[in-house]
Amino acid sequence: MNERMTYDLVVVGGGPAGMAAALKARECGVENIALIERASELGGILEQCIHTGFGLTYFGQELSGPEYADRFIKLVDKTDIRVFTDTMVTDVSPEKVVTCVNKKDGLMKLQAKAVILAMGCRERPRGALNIVGTRPAGVMTAGTAQKYVNLDGYMPGKKVVILGSGDIGLIMARRMTLEGAEVKMVCELMPFSGGLTRNIVQCLNDFDIPLKLSTTVVKVYGDQRVTGVDIARVDEKLQPIPETIEHVECDTLMLSVGLIPENELTVGAGIPLDRVTRGAVVDELRQTEMPGVFACGNVLQVHDLVDFVTMESQIAGEGAARYIRGELSDPEYIRPETGFGVRYIVPQKINIKDKKDVKLYFRVGAIYNNPRVVLECDGQVLSSKKKIKVAPGEMEDVLIPASVFDSLTPESRITVRVEV
């Protein structure tokens, strides 16, 4: 292995997460950084998200995806971070050897002191669903349709039914409508939408596109091309009610039924995942259970807002810098617990010796109106914050102030719960 192939830090994935992490690590003094991206440009999924609404929190501006990405691409360009594009990482080993391939250099093995995983997520494909019927053309994920329309300049259909009310589906309902397609409806299995309210209003209501809750697609028709689907309402057990089946004519069925973190490399390295988030188990610096390997962005937990991806990735970048400087020895962890209403918490563990403010990010399992978000430590309420509403579609957070850690022991129990 020649000298060029050793790096202090290797970042896998050049989306907003990877860029922010690499930039922050550089700012914290890490000198020898490689940023590896399999696509031909940096930017990740943002390149196809041409709608506006990015950066409201981080920049206080309504940017499109490519504009948001461009701000970070320009910053990366100004540094000495070594960027590899068109380069696919195929393996990350416990010894922190990152194996990657590209056409020019062939197979490369990069030895790193620290690694940041920022591979993003992918859409749940049709195979994950139980729809009977034929397999004609015209069934695609909303993200694939988004790529066709926004990058390839090609309209994948004229009469569209969308299954799943995730944000990508909502965004595509509007996009297809603007380009002259008829979007007949968005069907959502659950009694609530998984998308942001803002998107329901501006993508569906603005164009009178019906959102059918507790409704699913039970059958697809068509030989070569989709000709229609059967939809049905579902009962409380999410089972279709046969008497409610209705036929809808369409040439395209778009699926927006959830995102899954892309963790093949993580699993390959032997890093444990959280059952709920399907991302790595991490501490407050976003360090996985494998010391020196960090994770951030959609590969860690599916985010709705890129602004939070950026902030999370800066934490990981700083964490990696501290690891490389040898500052992270001998941690003592506690694991915050999910109380009533809370599905998961990231980070899953906190080093109580670090004594810094820690923000816990979490999602709830159902919609609650006028709840309180309660943070408890050993039966004592640390904070109880009134909320107007919490919903599964919007990530929440609660702060543990640094001062709390003075009185904590490894046996202490921290709980986040919803109180209604």
Partner: protein
């Protein structure tokens, strides 16, 4: 006449009912806070939206480049603006921020490129 709105000023998404007499607002109900009232007033008197789409590129790396309105435009002009956007094409190279259509349909908003090509 009554109009139903969903407030987007915060994630709660209150359903707001606005009662109208012609063009003037008689009452606003359902908002849990004053921000909802303001939102509803704007939505009734002058609803505005950003528009994002793509424009054909001649001789670029990709067939299209993304564009957006530089500021929001009246909501009822969305499809007119889309027609203008679909009528033009642009020669590569395109630079982020480049004005593709100045002052589209007299709205005061430019159509600008949001990526390089």
């Amino acid at each position: 006449m009554e109009k139903q709105l969903t407030c987007v000023a915060c994630p709660r998404g209150c359903s707001i009912t606005v009662t109208l007499d012609g063009d003037s607002i008689v009452s606003i109900e359902g908002n849990a806070c004053p921000r909802g009232k303001k939102y509803a007033e704007n939505e009734i008197t002058d609803p505005r939206r950003m528009v994002a789409s793509t424009v054909k590129v001649n001789g670029g790396k990709l067939p299209v480049v993304p564009v957006k309105t530089s500021s929001d435009i009246p909501k009822n002009m969305i499809f007119d603006v889309m027609r203008e956007i679909n009528r033009v094409s642009v020669d590569a190279p395109v630079e982020i921020g480049q004005v593709i259509i100045p002052d589209v349909l007299g709205t005061g908003a430019d159509i600008i490129a949001t990526n390089n090509d």
